[in-house]
Subunit: 226 residues, 2 copies
Amino acid sequence: MEFNFQQYFNRTFPFWNRITDSQKEEYIQNSFLSNFKKGQFVHDPMGQCFGMLTVYKGQLRVFIQSENGKEVTLYRIDEGETCTLATSCIMDEITFDVFIEATRDSTLVVTNSSYLNRVSEDNVYVQNFIYKQTTEKFSSVMWSMQQILFLSFDKRLASYLYDEVIRTNESSLVVTHDEIAKELGSAREVVSRMLKYFQKEGFVILERGKVEIVNKDAIRKIAIES
Amino acid sequence: MEFNFQQYFNRTFPFWNRITDSQKEEYIQNSFLSNFKKGQFVHDPMGQCFGMLTVYKGQLRVFIQSENGKEVTLYRIDEGETCTLATSCIMDEITFDVFIEATRDSTLVVTNSSYLNRVSEDNVYVQNFIYKQTTEKFSSVMWSMQQILFLSFDKRLASYLYDEVIRTNESSLVVTHDEIAKELGSAREVVSRMLKYFQKEGFVILERGKVEIVNKDAIRKIAIES
């Protein structure tokens, strides 16, 4: 079955009924589906200006990396959500660049940057959508920043575990210490040390590539108490 | 001499020639000058939604604060620049709040939030200006975040000192250790320790409320070398 761009864009983009029929046609001509395997890079700071991405299936992770390889996750992009940072070249206001990787096998709906640049200059509603999406991500980044700057690490780790339990509805989380460290912008050693402390306290049981939460209330209490 | 809002807005806002004459009139009616003394708060997270601010004279500092009072400067707003975060209530996408203080005696041109909300709903160019301004600040915040996360402290402090020397064109900086700590999101003790190390190395001479840079090249070298 062929993918219906017209229908998808109509459902996804508030500007779709603000652009002309010929702009719609051109927009679709300049859009394509792109598949990425779990772990594959969708965009990196050295790469070219890819395009505007909407996640049709899967999930992306947007992160920054220091010279010595330390990663900090800024936010994730779930199904139905749009990411504008892989087309930051069309926004003069964006002067930073990020890594974007697929955290699951993903199918993206991509509109190429050069067309997007043209249509957003012609149509202020398209442009406004791009800036609105970017502003929304600003909020996500501020949240991450505040987590990193202001919370002590036991609290951050507990928040992470508790949020994952709620999100997945599973008490057994399939995740390595390294993955948690990347998520929280910390070192693997720090994560392992804190998890061992949690295990000793009877909050969790650690297995290879797995964290079992056995005392959800205790984890929650650490997460919310200042 | 009376302040000419019409002229000022025409010079400052790219949307000004996109709004109608009656919108212009209303815009001016809903705008006012506001004076703040150095150190005074312009906006805080507990306060109401103030309005869109353009700095006519002076300078503002935008920062966040943890529960235990630690501050991190996100960016500064200089003369001619606009800040939209004191009117974040009109943007659904902004889910965080900030402190804004005057770092010098300042005169601001303010347009109140309720009118701005109305006109930005009626006129996509006004709305687009607000989101563009916010996106620009996103870049500044990312820069701060990367500084905080990725640079070692000697490098961050050296960068700060070197930037101040360039900015003020003075080798003697009037600033307390506490002010530097707030600027860099660090503790005063850490700043004092590193400054003493710089003094011992002959890079700076410390006096009460003052840092004299005596070896600018050495400071620059620390700042730029990885």
